[in-house]
Every structure is written in structure tokens, then in C-alpha cells.
């Protein structure tokens, strides 16, 4: 339990430790995925990226606070040429480090240096067994490249972690995707059903599968799991829109996750910047320790003192902590309300409507808004009201 001071801005009131540090080192990306969870106005943050020294300082500070797992992500992290330095520092500090990549930019030379520097594993995103869908959903020709990169990762003795974001366009291919993963020698496969934030929220009606498709995909996954056993670990991340209780988002606000973004903002979750009236700390001004322990932003939704009904008196509140603040805000306009995924939420009809909308052929057929600089610039400049009208606070 935490205690809150006046106005929710209390002095240091946490004894939690940021066990996971996610370094979103750049928002630049050669791919244009329709489901990208990066902020829709990311274009604003591509000019003022942290320097190598600033990243190394952040790594040191977080490690001192107990951070252990480091994810190096983006955008496409390999667009920076200093990942080798970051990796080396991470190993020396005792992190278990993970490069999260689309594969674009991974060369023999670089992977060799990562290995020598002590990078622990590489997570590669794959999209489908067909070239057509891979290229469609990422809006790039990257299919062959991804297979080559998978072989390279394996060849260097890395555990191969494949991440496949699941949506309407590939959910019918789960079995084939798992077979491909097995053939590539994957050690871990994450079938991550699309969560609707950022770009995927804009494209929700075009991406969302039906409940029947998800149930079927889960069944196939379970069968495959039986077959491969421990050789290949398969995670099936259930989409929250189709459950009756929300997820415990990020395992609790400011409980174990800390994210440092390309421009140095320190966030408790990927999409927290959509929340209104929040001033997030930045490593250019504050140390990570202050950000985690003292900053008003990290304390705002820590614990459960901020809750209103029905969460406040809910017997299940410690289980999910009221769900996701960003989802509550994006869908209902009220960041302190129960996550609309919850059937006890007065806003649950918004989820039901989204599911209905995704069955509407007219909405399904709307053109996908791909994640790219031009679209991002238009959204950031408020020039694309047709893209954002349905949701609160996009970007």
C-alpha cells in the first residue's frame, strides 16, 4: 500500500524498484506498421534524441535502483550507430539485455559486436508466413530480410525470440506461423494480440479480429504447445477487449516498469503521454531516482488512492488496479475511471461498440493509416481531424 499526500503529490512514498527498464532509443523506423504502438505524434520527438552519454548515464542510474532487465527498443533501435556502446555498458553493469528489432539494419558485423559486448538476446518481429501480408501490414518489403535475420540470430547462438503481433490479417495463419517459427528454430514465440493504442487505435476497426477467430487461434496455440513442449515456449497474449476484466496494466503504475523515451521522457508505460495534464520527468532535468520515487507523474496513479467508483470499493481492485489509465482516458475521456474493458465499468459499452464496429464491412474497408512521418506530422499539427475525431486525446 502507498500513502498519498495532499493533492496526490506526496513526498517519496514508494519502496518499489524499477526491475525493467525499456529504452526506446529512437522513434525513427524504416517500417510503417499499421499496429505500431508508438505515439501518433512521434515525429515531434525524432529531432532531440538523447546522446550516447545520456543513455549510459540513464542505464547506470536505473541499475543502481535495481533495474535488471533492459529492453532496447524504438522505433528501430538499429538506426542508431551506438547500440554497440549501449550494449557493452549494459553488460558491464549486470543487466540482462534484449534488443527488440524489426531486423532492418542487423548485419553480420553488428551482431558480432553485440555478441562480444554481451547482449543477451534479440527479439525479432515477424508478421506472417506470406510475403503479401508481411509487406502489406508493415508497408515495406521486409519479408525475405526477416528470414535472413532470423537465421543470423540463430547462427550466432542467440536464443531466438520471435514476436508476432496478431490482427485480422494474420490470425487465420496461426498454425502456419508457429510452424515457421519452429522451422526457424525459435526458442520463444510471443503471439501478441494487438492492443489498441497509438496507430493501432486509429486502425482498430480494420485490425480487430472476431472473438471466434481469437478463440480458434488460442485453441490451435494450445495444441501446438502440447506438441513442442519446452523446446519452444509459446506465449499467447490474450486481447483485453474480449475479456471481462482488464489487465493489470504494466503490472501496476510505477511498480516495476520504467520507460525512457528517445527524447528522454521518463514514463510508467508506453502510451502515458496521452494522459491530460501530466508533466512527465525528463532525464535532461531530473535523475531517474527522482523520476521514479518523487515525480508527481509516477505517484499519480501508484497504488489505488486515486480510484473512483466502481473501482474504489471493488473487491477485485488489487488484482487489476482498475486496468489501464491510458485506455480509460482514450476511450472515455476520463483517466480516473475504470478501464472500459471491465464489465463493471459504466463505459463498457464503448468496448462493445468497438467490437461491433470491427464487424462493419464499411469500417473494415476504410484505408489503413500507416505509421509514417507524413501522417505523424499531420496528426501532430492537428491537420488530420478525420483520423482522431473518434478518440480522446490522439495524439
Amino acid at each position: 500500500m502507498t500513502t498519498t499526500g495532499n493533492n496526490g503529490v506526496a513526498a517519496s512514498k514508494t519502496n518499489t524498484q524499477p526491475l525493467w527498464l525499456l529504452a526506446e532509443v529512437t522513434y525513427r523506423c524504416p517500417l510503417h506498421c499499421a499496429f505500431c504502438y508508438n505515439p501518433t505524434d512521434y515525429d515531434k520527438h525524432t529531432q532531440n534524441e538523447l546522446t550516447t552519454e545520456q543513455w549510459i548515464q540513464a542505464l547506470r542510474d536505473a541499475r543502481k535502483m535495481g533495474a535488471l532487465q533492459l529492453g532496447i527498443s524504438g522505433g528501430e533501435p538499429l538506426l542508431r550507430d551506438d547500440i554497440e556502446d549501449i550494449v557493452r555498458e549494459a553488460r558491464q553493469l549486470g543487466y540482462y539485455s534484449n534488443l527488440i528489432t524489426s531486423g532492418v539494419g542487423l548485419t553480420e558485423k553488428r551482431i558480432q559486436e553485440f555478441k562480444e559486448g554481451g547482449l543477451d538476446h534479440i527479439q525479432l518481429s515477424m508478421h506472417d508466413i506470406t510475403e503479401e501480408i508481411n509487406n502489406f501490414i508493415t508497408n515495406t518489403k521486409t519479408f525475405e530480410l526477416k528470414k535472413k535475420v532470423a537465421a543470423m540470430i540463430k547462427g550466432h547462438g542467440y536464443p531466438m525470440v520471435l514476436n508476432v503481433v496478431i490482427h485480422r490479417y494474420n490470425i487465420g495463419h496461426i498454425k502456419e506461423i508457429l510452424e515457421m517459427a519452429e522451422a526457424l528454430g525459435a526458442d520463444y514465440v510471443e503471439l501478441a494480440n494487438t492492443q489498441y493504442y497509438g496507430w493501432s487505435l486509429i486502425n482498430r476497426s480494420q485490425l480487430m479480429p472476431t472473438k471466434e477467430q481469437i478463440d480458434h487461434a488460442e485453441m490451435i496455440t494450445n495444441e501446438f504447445r502440447q506438441k513442442v513442449g519446452n523446446k519452444m515456449k509459446i506465449f499467447f497474449v490474450v486481447p483485453d477487449y474480449f475479456s471481462d476484466r482488464p489487465k493489470k496494466c504494466m503490472n501496476g503504475w510505477g511498480e516495476v516498469f520504467m520507460i525512457v523515451t528517445a527524447n528522454g521522457d521518463v514514463l510508467p508505460c508506453h502510451s502515458a503521454r496521452v494522459l491530460p495534464g501530466m508533466a512527465f520527468p525528463n532525464v535532461r532535468e531530473h535523475g531517474l531516482e527522482w523520476a521514479w520515487k518523487e515525480s508527481p507523474a509516477f505517484n499519480k496513479y501508484r497504488g489505488d488512492d486515486w480510484m473512483k467508483e466502481p473501482c474504489r470499493s471493488c473487491p477485485e481492485k488489487e488484482k487489476d488496479l482498475g486496468g489501464c489509465r491510458c485506455q480509460a482516458f482514450l476511450l472515455s475521456g476520463d483517466a480516473e475511471s475504470a478501464d472500459p474493458v471491465c464489465t463493471l465499468s459504466p463505459n463498457h459499452h464503448l468496448i462493445e461498440k468497438a467490437i461491433e464496429d470491427a464487424k462493419n464491412p464499411q469500417l473494415q474497408a476504410q484505408p489503413i493509416v500507416f505509421r509514417n512521418d507524413k501522417n505523424s506530422r499531420r496528426i501532430a499539427a492537428g491537420e488530420a481531424p478525420e483520423l482522431v475525431k473518434e478518440f480522446h486525446a490522439l495524439p
Binding site: 535495481g66 535488471l68 540482462y96 543477451d120 536464443p159 510471443e190 519446452n230
Partner: protein, 94 residues
């Protein structure tokens, strides 16, 4: 899949797993892709000795010598190793 742990077995940590002491948490941890486990005192002492050379019997003897006041730890050690094996933290070497 689940075989049971025998005294003559030799184990090492599974490939890609890392075991280390954490000053900030004051415990041993096991790190692997997508996850980590904090090991309590006893479990940490067991896993620390899993090195690809010692047999399970060696580990038991060593721990009995290191903690002479603890009674009946053999069953606990075997249970711990069994759990670790089922979770695929360990690989059998012999």
C-alpha cells in the same frame, strides 16, 4: 516431459539463463528472455551450486556441510531442483 531428479544427475543452468547476486534486492536472481525470478535464500544457495559438474548428491552434501543446523534439507533441495527442472531453468548434463 517431466522426469524426476536423481542423486547421480548432473545439471547446468539452461542455455541463455543467467544467475547473479543482486545487491539492490539482496537476493540471487535468475534472468532469462522475457523474465526473471527472485530466488529466496535457500533456493539461491541450491541454484548457485548447479554448475554442470556437481551431481545432485554432491550438492546435497555440500549444503548439509554449509548449513549444519538445518535439518532434513535433502527433501527441500530435491523439491527445489525438481521445480527448477520442470520450469526448464536447468538442463541435464549426463
Amino acid at each position: 516431459m517431466t522426469t524426476s531428479v536423481n542423486p547421480a544427475d548432473i545439471y547446468s543452468l539452461a542455455r541463455h539463463y543467467r544467475f547473479q547476486w543482486e545487491e539492490a534486492q539482496q537476493c540471487y536472481v535468475l534472468l532469462f528472455p522475457e523474465g526473471m525470478i527472485k530466488l529466496n535464500g535457500g533456493a539461491g544457495e541450491v541454484i548457485k551450486r548447479v554448475d554442470g559438474n556437481k551431481t545432485v548428491a554432491d550438492i546435497v552434501t555440500e549444503l548439509q556441510q554449509a548449513f549444519p543446523d538445518a535439518t532434513d534439507i535433502e527433501a527441500d533441495i530435491l523439491a527445489m531442483l525438481q521445480l527448477a527442472l520442470e520450469k526448464a531453468w536447468l538442463e541435464k548434463r549426463n
